[in-house]
Amino acid sequence: MNAIRRRWALRPRAGRLERANYKWIYLFLLPTVIIFVLFYAVPIVQVFVTSFTRWDGFTDPEFNGLRNYINMFTNSAFLQSLKNLFLWCLVAAVFHVGFGTLVAFVLFYRPRGWKLTRAVFMIPNVISAAAWAMIYRFIFNNDFGVLNTIIRFFDPDFNVQWFYQSPWAFWAVTLTWLFYAVIVTLVVLGDLMNIPSELGEAARLDGATGWQFIRHIQLPLCRGAIGTSVIVSLTARIAMYEQISLTTAGGPGNDTMSLSILLVNGILDYRYGYANAVGVVMFLIGLVILFVVNRLFRMDETDY
């Protein structure tokens, strides 16, 4: 009897109506399943498997063990891109998310013009990252760029090629995304608005000052949103491509090299095995970030 009950518990109980609909249900799922298999399941398996092979895309892949990984970890461009990614992640987690959160708090108190600010802040996010990279190339241009023109008001002899000179290039690339944290702002603002207003009243009755309220009530309560923002902005660092490829292309030297640039170069050189090894590293870094941030912000716990 128990065994029977358990068997029933294992599968969702389907009504007569639903069973009659199975044909339709699976038909409706088919397109999504096909896309999932073609663009996710098969590619991920393929990337993992062929990362252990030598493969030019024309002949059959040839197993070569850890060769690609050894090549990768002895390549200075790869090591530099790991270092860059780490530094960019750090900057993103602290300053990018920090700035977005700050703006969220400002907007939460609805100063005059908060709706306009929120609307305008979104604009850099709705235009193509490629176009945005070009715009920044012009802003940082030495001859007619906005930045150097303004600096020359104070120092007429100032000359810097931001995207082409070490160590500026790294920070010039960083500036193309650093302050554009509207996603962080919107996500955190959403959480702030969800905090029950009784909490604010209770805190005020207990004599909490504004800063104490922010520090001990609001910030801890929107840690879920902040955690999400950290994940989103760190994964955006892994995927960063246009901002580098269209400005510095990884230079000067390897100053702004990234995994995405190495991966594309691998494909263009027909070193598919190597490119996929880089892909595996990207994938794993993504997973690690997700896991660590989730733990750090205790995102799976609820508060009210």
Partner: protein
């Protein structure tokens, strides 16, 4: 106390102004520069244009394939958005409304794809498009765009369909409505909000996409606007007026779409917490 309040106020306005300047100024500067001559751009980058003419834009559209790039972008982003919206709403609909074996597993599989950096799958997707004979074709790009935003759309659409009361479905079934009819006539129209949210996000992403489009096309006739823009830099190199005009043409449609669907875009970004 009063002083402190004043300081906080000033600080808040300073932040607001900073945000508006860094977000709007670069774009205004690009549009403004598109109306200046090369000499004006070089001698005084911050000055206003002296005359407003649309000559450069007219030239761009005549001498280069701009209308074609525009159509390519519209085709790739538009077709992929409409088709994947249909596909994903079918999937999300049955996941939201029916019990069947594998339901939970499929939902997890579909949404977990969010965690896979799309760049890491570049080579297999590249090879897939090659095998299908769609390399260097705008259709290949469109095909790849179908897969983008899957997790996010399923997530948004599932919530949308779950909000449609089941009693409405039952009433329609009693009246003899078929499975298709219940989906098409009742659920789709009532999940309109979720559909626009997912649609706007997908369209914006695909309209702006650069990475796959740059890898999957080579010929001029297959370029989308962002790709064409990248090629322009090398082609015009020192004609800044044309470069700025090209940039203006590329960024304006996205901004206009945003201006029309502003609330939608903001709400969707806030609920999804994800973009790109």
């Amino acid at each position: 106390m009063k002083l402190k309040k004043g300081l906080t106020r000033t600080f808040m306005y300073a932040i607001e102004i900073f945000v508006i300047v860094i977000s709007a100024f670069p774009i205004l500067w690009v549009i403004m520069s598109a109306f200046k001559t090369n000499g004006e751009i070089l001698t005084n980058p911050l000055a206003l244009p002296t005359s407003i003419t649309l000559d450069t834009f007219a030239y761009l559209f005549e001498a280069y394939n701009f209308p074609l790039y525009f159509l390519n972008s519209l085709l790739a982003a538009g077709v992929s958005t409409v088709v994947s919206l249909l596909f994903y709403s079918m999937g999300a609909y049955v996941i939201a409304k029916f019990k069947f074996p594998g339901r939970q597993l499929l939902y997890i599989l579909f949404t977990i794809t969010l965690l896979v950096p799309s760049h890491s799958k570049t080579q297999p997707i590249f090879s897939l498009v090659m095998q299908l004979g769609l390399y260097d074709s705008i259709w290949g790009v469109t095909f790849v765009y179908l897969s983008m935003g899957m997790a996010m759309s399923i997530f948004i659409l599932k919530a949308g369909f779950m909000a449609v009361p089941k009693t409405l479905d039952d009433a329609a079934i009693v009246d003899g409505a078929s499975f298709l009819r219940v989906f098409w006539r009742i659920n789709l129209p009532l999940a309109k909000n979720a559909l626009t949210t997912a649609g706007v996000l997908m369209f914006l992403n695909n309209w702006n996409e650069y990475y796959f489009a740059s890898l999957l096309t080579v010929s001029d006739s297959q370029r989308t606007l962002p790709i064409a823009l990248a090629f322009f830099t090398s082609e015009f190199s020192y004609n800044y007026t044309q470069l700025f005009s090209a940039l203006t043409v590329v960024i304006l449609p996205g901004i206009l779409l945003y201006a029309v669907a502003q609330e939608k875009v903001q709400v969707s970004v806030a609920t999804a917490g994800i973009k790109g």
